[in-house]
Symmetry: C2
Subunit: 333 residues, 2 copies
């Protein structure tokens, strides 16, 4: 499958039918406190933080690994990741009986490194210093792939990864139907390299095109937003400060970008202050632990104003991998 | 229905069929980190913290309110609660269009008081000073019932409440079956007055008697444990210190006690240190915010030792209503 292939409805359904057997059906939680605060009519949160390994990444990784050929499975896989894909891939590879080595930047949160190791992966640290961490880590992963003959997996720029993440969209659509509710007017989706929104936006595009999917990025890392505006992949300068460690990709992948263009998504950017507020509200009103990157959709809801007034909104809360001490430090600051 | 009536299988199924339409199907989360730490083969956590209003209490309250006669519904209800029943009843009464006044002790956590108010209840504070807070609050609730003609609802000593809480048992049984897993060997259940474990243990007793349900109480508040040992309701002295504010009942209710005896449950007690450890582990490995009372089943797992070695264990995480600052203070201490 070429990376810029756009998975069709049959493909994403097939991926979900396979992955759901090993993944958590994350609940659809209504959030009256967030509705009251934002002016939305109703707000629902889908906590992928409760997914196996603490983020949505397991869905795509599990589908990707399942599609390796028998010889590829024997060779093993290698990937780079700042943390959540590392954990998702580690768990997926273990279930499939595939060896996994994962390159992580040396400044990735320790909780994520330990998580990947606890799920059975061998973690190799990359040292980027002042260079872009994604480039340095990916170069090391390529080197390991060549030296050891492993299959190099990309955390998001892969049509099969996009197809796997679409399960979080199909599942939400199914949950709204089971509750006899119309599809939400707006779905806010966190965006790093775009794998998650790529899949989720395709699911809504094929089945519920009345739902407007909106890409949410940290200010300064709005590569997807700029790419959509320019109708071409646009890389932003790296190095800006954000507490959203999982959303520091400087440009969307080709596969996710093709998907989101096809699905006609919108975009917005949020700041760290709103993210911290969202983390605290998720803690107190939803009883959910969200890492900063996992809270950006709720931050976007809080910043939205008129756009959400009187509407039904779905917020994807994509991850919860954060140590308590880091969480407490962020909230106190 | 007499308070010591023991709901049969048809009754608890009927209650669940009604309440599930308005309640969250809380997920069944596997917890490999807790299995590794405790020596159990597999551990599953059912987070009722994600239930509507942040605890299991909504299930029983919603069923109880639904069973009021039309004239009782017009008269409205009154209850006393240290917090979680207050919120569950407030939400249940609002859905049913019934007026609710709720007596809360003046030292109940502010988050719980605000929660009850936000769900539409009118909160009346009781001032117990050195007297047992449950007795003082219940006396005030009785007074309001008499003065205003409201129906007095008890937070746990009511066979209909017990039947409603049983939904958390039926739901877990169904989830294990859907995952093609055998029923767990052990199910740890938090116990205050016993309403929750009364219902849950009946569900397992009727359908999966091979699962041993175990009552978990804070040390010093082991009224259920002592009552089981004595084969008669036994009240413990109140006034001991515990961080588990929702589990300070000094004796089980008659209806729950009848149910747990019928279902042949075991019992154990845990200390505050284990509860804090459980709260932190739930935060970091399950991404769940649990209040102290909601974390006692995980604390019991951590303290269990040989009893859980190699077994499959279910822990009910019954509530998550706690302010971030209170959570942080407890974990830091």
């Amino acid at each position: 499958m070429h990376p810029v292939h756009i998975p069709d409805l049959d493909e994403i359904r097939k991926a979900y039918a396979f992955t759901r057997a090993a993944s958590v059906e994350t609940p659809l939680l209504e959030a009256p406190a967030l509705a009251a605060r934002s002016g939305a009519a109703r707000v629902f949160v889908k906590p992928e933080s409760l997914q196996r390994t603490g983020s949505f990444k397991f869905r795509g990784a599990y589908w990707r690994v399942s599609q390796l050929s028998p010889t590829e499975k024997q060779r093993g896989v290698v990937a780079y990741s700042s943390g959540n894909f590392a954990q998702g891939l580690a768990a997926a590879a273990r279930i499939a009986g595939v060896s996994a080595r994962i390159v992580m930047p040396d400044d990735a949160p320790q909780a994520k490194r330990k998580g990947a190791e606890s799920h059975g992966a061998e973690v190799v640290l990359s040292h980027h210093g002042d260079r872009p961490r994604e480039e340095v880590a990916s170069a090391l992963a390529r080197e390991i792939a060549e030296t050891e003959g492993r299959v190099l997996l990309h955390p998001f720029d892969d049509a099969l990864i996009v197809a796997g993440q679409a399960g979080a969209g199909l599942e939400a659509i199914d949950q709204f139907e089971r509750l006899a509710l119309p599809s939400p007017d707006i779905a806010f989706c966190p965006v790093g390299g775009g794998g998650f929104i790529g899949g989720v936006s395709l699911a809504f595009h094929y089945l519920k095109p009345e739902t407007k999917v909106i890409a949410v990025e940290p200010a300064g890392y709005d590569g997807m937003g700029q790419s959509l505006d320019n109708a071409a992949i646009t890389r932003v300068a790296s190095g800006k400060s954000t507490i959203c460690d999982a959303l520091q990709a400087t440009a969307p992948g080709e596969a996710p970008f093709a998907a989101v263009r096809h699905a006609n998504v919108g975009h917005t950017a949020i700041d760290d202050t709103a993210v911290k507020q969202a983390m605290k509200l998720a803690f107190e009103t939803l009883k959910l632990v969200l890492e900063p990157s996992g809270a950006v959709a709720i931050a976007a809801l809080l910043q939205a104003g008129d756009e959400v007034s009187g509407r039904t909104v779905l917020c994807y809360a994509t991850g919860g991998n954060i140590a308590f001490e880091d969480f407490a430090r962020l909230i106190a600051a």
